[in-house]
Symmetry: C2
Subunit: 307 residues, 2 copies
């Protein structure tokens, strides 16, 4: 046996942001607001403290989230939780702030082809808007996270040059963003690439919180999440049930499943706000509402027998 | 951001043993020998150099592998590949040796309850047979791997005490086993537990090759495999398509999928003998033969666009 490196230093606590209501639902057929509130009740019962509730984007492009303002109007019933919404530009940021969200996520795609396809702008043009969006948000005491999308790969062009990612991160830091996150938008990342990119990004962000967003599209979502935590990430997105896969590809994995992530972190002595049994129950609620089997592993296998 | 540990030292090469024909098929309804040979052709085309072909165990308990001797008689047509078979005792070891297998895997369950349920013997009684099995094998120039089953958890009793695992490993080393492997029999392991157990085991085995066997039952299979490689493992079992889940739980994950593992390792600069595209093709062959969707992620998602 060859010598190996010591066990990586892991944090004692990771913040999970539940994204089932936004990333989980966005490519599904629209479900009624009442169904979203049923899912939200189940998610709130997990103990999670941060929930991405919706997106203020084009209702034509994302009909499943066209009820963003109506949903936002219901959030006051859940005290103690920070609700956020994703936005694609200053217009969405204004709508989110008006709707009373406590935090917004502004997405900048590091890959130009994806950026054009997603929002009709180049990466540079999207990055140039960060300052305006931060201004809109901060004027209303709303925090801003810049999510660097396609941080590892673009669906059209393949690998994203790390310099493009660090350029967006540097722009976000300079513009006063409150948090940064790296998103594996198409689920192609693997742990070593995750570690390496985070090591490139970390020196740029000083004390800002750094998060990551993984999809389990190629089976490596949890491996990436664990590598990210080992590399210094303290925030992870996840969706109960692994909601967020393509509805037309049965069994295709979406976001990393909250319950599977919590299981892995708990058994690694990393605390979260999320109760595992409640997360499994919420995944079942999501499955029921969506009407098809979701990919979360613990939905089928359950917890292990604890010692 | 807090300081983190440096990137773990990873090996440049990992040996994958393809186990779809044994662990993948053992709980399926029996398929004809001709179908197994079709799958074997597809697996051989991946370039893999080690294949667990079958098991010499009770045909009543495992009817899917009752054709072990007939299958073994066909293996001469594939030169350059080491074929192995799993055995549960000296009788099976003799049959495997007689059938011409080049290597055998002898399973010792570290958890007593599982050991009794699986082979009707205690862990100690199973470990006491290692020497006899090594004798049978070595007399015929056949190598022996001792697989420590339920190395992390027992399906009946929960966590397996690491001392029970190290006791089996020490017995295997003392009895002259050629290789050791740790098996997460019920798919409950997570990466930090993997790292810790390997660190306990490594000092006991000197230069013997150490392998690991993971199931993706709770979504963490690849995360465990990557952690194992980071902790000094150089051999991993996998099954194309992720074959080996329960046929009666649709979507339930079985062994880690060969193609998903190869994808992760390739993108971590870790070489294997397995060609990724051929592994995806073999997973599709397995899916066709089994007649239901298999859980391997790359079967649906395919490779990423390479740079």
């Amino acid at each position: 046996m060859t010598a190996t490196a010591p066990e990586p230093a892991l944090p004692g606590q990771v913040t999970i942001r539940e994204v089932c209501l936004r990333d989980g639902l966005q490519i599904e057929a629209p479900i009624p607001l009442s169904a979203k509130l049923e899912l939200l009740d189940a998610v709130v019962a997990t103990g999670v403290r941060e929930i991405e509730a919706t997106a203020f984007v084009s209702p034509t492009k994302v009909p499943a989230l066209a009820d963003a303002a109506q949903l936002a109007a219901e959030l006051g019933r859940y005290p103690g939780i920070t609700f956020s919404a994703l936005v694609a530009g200053p217009g969405g940021a204004r709508r989110a702030v008006t709707a009373g969200l406590g935090s917004i996520e502004y997405v900048v795609s590091a890959a130009d082809s994806h950026s054009h396809a997603n929002v009709g702008r180049s990466t540079d043009d999207s990055a140039a808007l960060i300052e305006e969006i931060v201004g809109i948000a901060h004027a209303a005491d709303v925090t801003v996270e810049v999510i660097v999308a396609t941080a590892w790969d673009c669906p059209f062009d393949g690998p994203t040059a790390p310099d493009r990612v660090t350029a967006v991160v540097a722009a976000a830091v300079a513009a006063g963003a409150d948090r940064i996150a790296l998103a594996d938008t198409i689920g192609t990342a693997t742990p070593r690439r995750v570690t390496r990119l985070i090591e490139r990004v970390r020196p740029l962000i000083d004390e800002l919180p750094l998060g990551a967003h993984f999809h389990n599209t190629r089976g490596a979502g949890l491996a990436c999440a664990y590598a990210a935590v080992g590399a210094g990430i303290t925030r992870l997105d996840a969706a109960v049930g692994g909601l967020g896969g393509c509805p037309f590809a049965p069994g295709a994995s979406g976001n990393i499943a909250t319950e599977d992530l919590v299981y892995l972190l708990r058994d690694s002595d990393i605390a979260t706000d999320v109760d595992l049994a409640a997360a499994i129950r919420a995944g079942r609620v999501a499955q029921q509402l969506i009407g098809r089997e979701l990919p979360g592993a613990l939905l089928r296998a359950g917890d292990r027998i604890l010692g």
